[in-house]
Every structure is written in structure tokens, then in C-alpha cells.
Symmetry: C2
Subunit: 225 residues, 2 copies
């Protein structure tokens, strides 16, 4: 096995999976989805479906105990409401601190878990779908290029130089991710982004807003709507 | 709360706890012990006892599912035998690769989990007891100074500059750690290091060998024997 892909079930990580499969072939790729105690299971169901679509091995694990003490609004046990406005609007109010949907150091935890599993499965590469729109204004500091570089160094060194990270979209916008995905024929109809777990995407949470804008910039319809 | 200390129940992390308590006072310190699927519970019981001794809040969580696919000899599900020889003897046979008791990227995973929890508990510092003897010859690459620096940068950046790592022993030998601990009056009688889970320490696994040597260099008796 060559590459392990962190797969949330959203459009960024699914594009990442499509890219890894196109580079290495499905037998050299596995996908890892981690449950962190989110309010709904829609995105994990989406992850399973896209892994099935690509016929790659799918690993799923629960790490929600780590977030027991967090009040992040994405978590099932949290009393915080998910904001229904864009990241830009949220960031105006909070002077450079992460947004309320920032799950504390989630990407660091997920990448470390991925590194442990990559070592066990003999994968030398970990792919994940961080992009520059999520890092903008410090909304999600664990999506930034600086974080990626440091985490890559930590994983490379701490694994005895056996595993490296690949974040192919870290300097791309979400619209550029979708452009790449449309070229690759990524099955966006199977994905789920909305922070709420309704029957249909709410259309007004920050990730719904960003997803719609990314498709619009590509003059494309979102096949999941 | 100021500092979160990763506490395994061995002498290095317990010395770290003693140091953090002496610096900040017991009310500003909490200890985190993670179960990773090890063959015995002796070290976790020791961790609980030392947290009680220092009267600090003790958090304990199970992350063993992450190591499901690992064959590391420390793990309960592994068929591998724990080696009964020093790290130096083991390293002679394996050309710079980690020892069989290296749990894949365990320190990276533990520090990432600690960062998530530190953010939730309002701690700005994470202490852990990595030292240079464990990093020597690449036995445990996730104990090295290079790993520490990169991981610190990843956690600082990825947490939105809210959390930093402290590895006070990263350039010290284990004997120097014990020297410091003896000065601080660390309750070594309560600690457990042996990789085997017998009634008494086996005396012949690599960590028993290192522990005995560290006390001997300080002309001190090990109060746990």
C-alpha cells in the first residue's frame, strides 16, 4: 500500500482521494475516516460511499473521547449553535481567533493517527485536503501552509523517515479544488459538506456557503443538490 | 489551568510531573494518561497513583483503536515477543530502524491528543518526558530533539498560537532525569517502567536495564525494587 487518504466525506478530501487513486491506482490507496463526536453521521456515510465508489479499502475509527472537554459547536455534546453565516462574517467579530467550528487541533490529531496507521499498513504517504480558503484569517489554523510544513517535518522525523504528508491543495482555493475534481470526474453527488445533519444541506452554514461559491466559480451545478 | 503533563507512569514522565508541579503549583497542572493497547495496566495504575500523590487532576483515555494494525511488541494483540536486551544490542542488528517496542508515532499521537485537550482545558503548555537516551541510534525517533522542535511548531501554529510544548529533558540522559527527580523528591516508589506486566519488574527488558543504570549513575537505590 502506498498512500493513506484522510477522508471526511466532503468535497476537498474526496477530491484528494480521486487524485491519489489517479496517481497510484486503487489497490495502492486506502481511506481513513475518523469520527470525532460530530452532531450527525451524514459525512461519514458519504465517506463510506465514496470509498466504495473508488473501490479502495476504507478504515473508520472513533476518536471522539479526545474531544470530551471541547465546547466546539460541531460536537454532539456541545450546547453551542452552529453559526449560519460565512467564515468572513464570523472572523470580523473575533480578531483572528479560530471560528466556533474549529475542532481543537483536529487536523493535527487526525494526521498523527493517520501516521500511526500508515506505518502499520506500510503506506509512505498521507494525503489530506486542506486548502487556503479554510486557513484564511486564522479560521482553521490547522489548515495553513505553515502548519502543514511543521506537521510534515514532525511526521517525517518522528516516524524514522518512513512517512510524509501530501497536501496538494494547501495553496489552492476551494474553487480550484472543485476545478480539479471536475476534471478528475470526482463523484460529488455522493459527498456531504453541511455542518447540520438535515435531510438536505442547510445552504446557510459557512461550509454550505463556501461549497456553493466554489461550484459557481466553475460555472458548474452541485450534483448533490 | 496552566500545564498538561503526559504521564505514562514511568520515571521520566513522573519527573516531568514533579517539575511542572514545582513550577506552577498543583492546581495549575493536570496529567493525561493514554491507554494504547499495551500488554499490561501496571503503568497506568502507577500513573494514577503518582497523580494522586501530587493531588493533580488526572485524565485517562483509551486510544488503542489507532494501533489495531500495528505489530509492535508492546501491544496486547501482537504476537511479537518483548526483547530482553538493551536498546544498544537491539540497534546493532537493525541498521538505524526503530526498535520493536517503538509504538508507531505514539508520541506524535499522544502530543496531538494532548494539544486538543489542552485547548479544551485552557492549558497553554504541554509537558512530556522525552530524553536523549531514548532517541539515541533512532531507537525512538519520536523522542528526538528534531521531532520535538517540529511538533512544537505544528502544535503552536495549528492551535492558533495557543499551546506550546515543553520537553525539559530532550537533551538530557536518563541519569540526568533521575538526578533532577531525586532533587525534587519524585515518588519513584510509585512508578512502573518494565515492559512486561509481571508482579515485579523483569530486570532484563531494555527499559529495566536503562532504569537500573540511571539509578546506579546517581549512586541511588531504586525505591520501586
Amino acid at each position: 500500500m502506498k498512500a493513506l487518504v484522510l477522508l471526511s466525506g466532503g468535497i476537498d478530501s474526496t477530491t484528494c482521494l480521486g487524485m491519489a487513486v489517479s496517481l497510484y491506482g486503487r489497490e495502492e490507496v486506502c481511506a481513513l475516516s475518523l469520527s470525532y463526536g460530530q452532531k450527525h453521521t451524514k459525512e461519514l456515510e458519504a465517506a463510506e460511499k465514496t470509498a466504495e465508489y473508488y473501490q479502495v479499502e476504507w478504515l473508520s475509527m472513533d476518536v471522539s473521547n479526545i474531544f470530551t472537554y471541547s465546547t466546539c459547536s460541531l460536537l454532539k455534546h456541545s450546547q453551542e449553535e452552529i453559526p449560519h453565516e460565512s467564515y468572513a462574517e464570523q472572523l470580523k467579530k473575533q480578531e483572528g481567533t479560530p471560528v466556533s467550528t474549529y475542532v481543537p487541533f483536529r487536523n493535527g490529531l487526525f494526521l498523527s493517527a493517520a501516521a500511526s496507521i500508515a506505518l502499520s499498513k506500510g503506506c509512505s504517504l498521507i494525503y489530506y485536503g486542506a486548502h487556503s480558503d479554510d486557513a484564511a484569517g486564522n479560521a482553521y489554523p490547522d489548515c495553513s501552509s505553515e502548519f502543514h510544513q511543521a506537521m510534515n517535518q514532525a511526521i517525517y522525523t518522528g516516524s524514522g523517515k518512513q512517512v510524509m504528508l501530501e497536501a496538494p491543495f494547501v495553496s489552492w482555493t476551494k474553487a480550484e479544488v472543485v476545478k480539479k475534481g471536475l476534471e478528475l470526474g470526482v463523484p460529488y453527488a455522493l459527498t456531504w459538506s453541511c455542518y447540520e445533519g438535515g435531510e438536505k444541506p442547510c445552504g446557510s452554514c459557512a461550509t454550505c456557503i463556501d461549497r456553493a461559491a466554489a461550484f459557481k466559480k466553475n460555472n458548474a451545478e452541485d450534483p448533490a443538490l
